[in-house]
């Protein structure tokens, strides 16, 4: 296990290094810079700005300096949001996205598994079809359509929930619904097919033949085994959802990190782009790392010693 964790960690660090390098050079390769605006900045002022932010130095020097700063844990200061540290911006906005995202993860896992289970148990019955139709819609309808639709119907027309903001608990309802729809649909389908497989397995028949009570079979054998694929999916999904959905944040006016990230790219806010990319990288890799570990713990069939990468 220790060896497995160590090698995983090393791979993670290597991936992060590649991520930083690629992002850095790609970002510099895009035309434009942070000081670009419709109204031309007078040349002497522009030159001074570039010098102050170190953008006048050769690209390799900038790169090395940036790596040096990162190693010291310094993400720098935003070039557009003046005097605001990248670390602070990430901290403030990620908190918002995290809260919303975790609620969405919990909701979609519970609802998704429940729906998938229902569909599997009532295979080829009306409930099954209903769940699958809902699932297809959930996957097919883009979140900006769903979010706008929810906002228009439940926020504006019916007035049940606030149109924007998450100041009150009620404000979370619509964004969470919009964020969860896709994952719910995916998890429901995943659960359904995996449960069906398990339900038809010989050991379930054996259990039935032995006269075990159905709820016990369901809990001990069907769900435990059928849920494995969901575990694999929940890790990356969590990372995905908590890092903020640009669309949902924009539509519901939530000051999360997704919105900030997209704006930073439009603004060519170099330090902020790098900071958030790095942060996203860490979150995604951490999520994968944890998933791998959890997978091992849940499924004894997987052996670690072979050293294969998952």
């Amino acid at each position: 296990m220790a060896r497995y964790v160590t090698s995983k960690l090393l791979y993670t660090l290597l991936s992060l290094f590649i991520l930083i390098t690629a992002t850095f050079f790609l970002m510099k390769a895009i035309p434009g810079d942070p000081f670009m605006s419709e109204k031309e900045v007078p040349a002497p002022i522009r030159a001074r700005l570039e010098a102050q932010y170190g953008l006048d130095k050769p690209l390799m020097t900038q790169y090395v300096n940036y790596l040096g700063n990162i190693v010291q844990g310094d993400l720098g200061i935003s070039m557009k949001k003046l005097n605001q540290e990248v670390g602070n911006i990430i901290g403030q906005t990620f908190g918002v996205s995290l809260r919303l995202g975790l609620i969405a993860v919990v909701v979609s896992t519970i609802v998704g598994v429940a729906l998938g289970l229902l569909a599997a148990l009532y295979h080829r019955k009306f409930i099954d079809s209903l769940v699958m139709v809902v699932a297809v819609i959930g996957i097919a309808v883009p979140s900006f359509v769903l979010a706008s639709l929810l906002q228009y119907t439940f926020g504006l027309k019916l007035g049940l929930f606030p149109i924007t903001g998450t100041k009150s608990l009620l404000g979370y309802v619509l964004p969470v619904m919009a964020l969860s729809a896709g994952p719910i649909a995916y998890i429901a389908r995943l659960t359904r097919s995996s449960m069906l497989e398990v339900l038809n397995a010989d050991y379930i028949k054996t259990a039935k033949a032995k006269g075990l009570k159905w709820p016990a079979i369901l809990w001990k054998h069907v769900i435990r085994n059928g849920i494995l694929p969901v575990v694999t999916y929940v890790g990356p999904m969590t990372a995905n959802v908590v890092t903020g959905s640009v669309v949902v944040e924009r539509i519901f006016g939530i000051g999360g990190i997704g919105k900030v990230f997209v704006d930073s790219i439009t603004n060519r806010d170099y330090t902020l782009i790098m900071g958030i990319t790095l942060f996203y990288g860490i979150i995604l890799m951490a999520a994968r790392f944890i998933t791998d570990i959890v997978y091992v713990l849940v499924d004894p069939r997987i052996k670690l010693t072979s050293g294969k990468e998952g």
């Binding site: 228009y152 149109i163 999360g256």
Partner: protein, 575 residues
């Protein structure tokens, strides 16, 4: 059969979804950023019946939405219209702009202007204080302006050039001299500020109400580098104090009881959500979450303008603003190095048809560069005194002839392939396609259209990597010069390659001729004729409007010539 009906339902849902999606997705990104030093109301913005306390609502909290978070609230660093709205709550310059658009005493109680129009002596208002109780003195202004101009300031304030009207300011800012005493701003004593200008500038008083000219509190600025990034560390002198600032979510202001004119400030609180979606903002307004929607603080999606103007007739308003939408030609490259060919292109589109069918926001067709809301002399607009109809007329047949003449002059029989470049946005795309279609029908030329992301687009335009490109320009101050000085030879914003000595001479004369307003305006009109009428360096399309929604109970909101908005004297009536 069962399966089929499921499929039907599914298809229906998806179709409805797609239709709804189309409704919500169009959003104009405002590409003309509006810095707005001086102000004049166009007349329709101000509804200032005096408020009697009897009909005031008990809760005087104004709720707004900002479509973007101001990147900074440091007056020296600010550059955008959101910061303009926010800073206006918090600061007050030497002059302010009254409801009629004229300069009125602000932090300065009165001023004297010398005969030659070069020296302004401002007398500071007695009893005006910062919100921590310190008096606002002439030194605060000297400090603020020196800070904005100083090459030592980090980061270098981009809008420092807004102060270049002051004698010696440019030399000090560019580092030609390090001696600030050469700059024409002096605190004669605590209460007297003397400002010397480089040239007589008729609009200078208006400029002093602009944010780059705001004072800052010296002890605060010197004590904390990041003082302007946090609500709790800002010391300000305006009618409101920033009390809440949650990054990316909301901002809130509370009335400043120490403000000298606090008796006339009716609002007790202002809150602003930060939502960058026109569709959401419109829903917020309709759902009663905000009291004002639309430009300049936010936006109303273009496709909602028509329906809203009918559904909410009494709340909806279109205001002419001092911005021009135009296409610019790269005059250095064939085929647009030929003036006749440029003219042919400009004459062969139907602007009114574009406005009626494509842009649909009541814009005015443009045949000149200076928009209709820019002031001229004698209370007339510049456009009224110098009508743009004289520059050229739409005439497809004449255009076709001109094109042939132009091609003959260049010795070509077919045009090279031509690409029209615009920045990515649904609205610019619609217009570009419609214009290309008109060119095809009227001139028989095939045009490619191409879009680029904003920064990439700016870079292409700046480096002359285009043939025809979309452009927009908005006023910095209420004078034709804010448009006309753009196309001088080698000007920083002149991407067209246009260079004309006569034009340069006229602009230079207008720069220096502040003491002869009549001639100055004529010089600028003559320059505009050279730019558009004679050379057609740019092809004007329309003068912008901005759409907004104001709740019937919200009064006292004023909009200036540029579309910038002032809520400080607003109040809420009982509903």
């Amino acid at each position: 059969m069962k399966k089929k009906s499921w499929m039907m339902l599914l298809t229906l849902v998806l179709v409805i979804g797609t239709v709804l999606a189309a409704c919500g997705s169009a959003e104009e990104t405002t590409t003309t950023d509006s810095g707005t030093p001086t102000e004049t109301t166009t007349g329709e913005g101000a509804t200032t019946e005096p408020a009697t306390d009897a009909n005031l609502a008990a809760d005087q909290t104004l709720r707004l939405n900002l479509s973007a978070e101001p990147p900074t609230l440091d007056p020296a660093q600010a550059q955008d219209s959101q910061a303009n709205t926010a800073l206006r709550f918090m600061y007050e310059g030497l002059a302010t702009i009254d409801a009629d658009g004229n300069p009125a005493p602000g932090a300065a109680e009165s001023w004297d202007i010398s005969e030659d129009g070069l020296t302004y002596t401002f007398h500071m208002r007695q009893g005006a204080t910062w919100n921590n109780g310190d008096p606002v003195t002439a030194n605060d202004f000297v400090f603020a302006w020196q800070r904005a101009l100083s090459p030592e300031t980090v980061p270098a304030p981009v809008y420092a050039y807004q102060l270049y009207y002051i004698k010696g300011a440019e030399a000090f800012n560019t580092g030609e001299t390090t001696d600030f005493s050469t700059v024409g701003v002096k605190a004669v004593d605590e209460n007297t500020l003397e400002v010397t200008l480089a040239n007589p500038t008729p609009y200078f008083l208006g400029l002093t109400s602009f944010y780059t000219y705001y004072p800052v509190h010296q002890a605060t600025v010197e004590g904390n580098e990041a003082w302007a990034a946090d609500a709790s560390t800002m010391v300000t002198n305006g009618p409101f104090t920033l009390t809440t600032w949650v990054t990316g979510s909301e901002m809130g202001w509370t009335k400043n009881d120490k403000y000298w004119d606090a008796a006339n400030i009716k609002l007790t609180n202002v809150t602003a959500s930060i939502v960058n979606s026109g569709a959401t903002e419109t829903s917020q307004y309709q759902g009663g979450e905000i009291d004002y929607a639309g430009a300049p603080t936010g936006e109303i999606p273009t496709d909602q303008i028509q329906p809203l103007s009918e559904q909410l007739k009494d709340e909806f308003k279109l205001t002419d603003i001092a911005s021009t939408y135009y296409y610019e030609f790269n005059t250095k490259e064939a085929p647009f190095n030929n003036a006749k060919i440029r003219k042919a292109f400009a004459m062969s589109i139907d602007r009114q048809a574009l406005i009626d069918n494509v842009t649909k926001a009541g814009q005015t067709p443009a045949f000149g560069f200076v928009p209709t809301s820019i002031a001229g002399l004698n209370n007339q607009s510049f456009r009224d005194e110098h009508p743009d109809a004289d520059y050229f007329k739409e005439d497809a047949a004449a255009a076709k002839t001109l094109l042939e003449e132009g091609m003959a002059e260049e010795g070509i029989t077919t045009l090279p392939s031509i690409t029209l470049l615009y920045n990515t946005s649904e609205n610019h795309q619609k217009l570009a396609l419609a214009v290309a279609d008109m060119w095809k029908n009227n001139l028989g030329v095939e045009i490619q259209t191409k879009n680029e992301e904003w920064s990439v687009f700016l870079e292409s335009r700046k480096t002359g990597n285009f043939q025809i490109a979309r452009a927009g320009w908005s006023a910095d101050y209420n004078d034709p010069m804010t448009f006309m000085d753009m196309f001088v030879t080698g000007g920083g914003n002149n991407n067209t390659g246009f260079a004309n000595e006569e034009y340069d001479a006229l602009i230079d004369a207008a720069y220096k001729g502040g003491n002869d307003p009549e001639k100055r305006m004529q010089d600028m009109a003559a320059a505009e004729k050279i730019l558009v009428g004679d050379n057609m360096v740019i092809m004007p399309v329309y003068y912008y409007t901005q759409a907004s929604l104001t709740k019937p109970y919200l009064k006292g909101v004023t909009t200036d010539f540029s579309g910038a908005i002032n809520f400080t004297r607003a109040y809420l009536e009982q509903q």
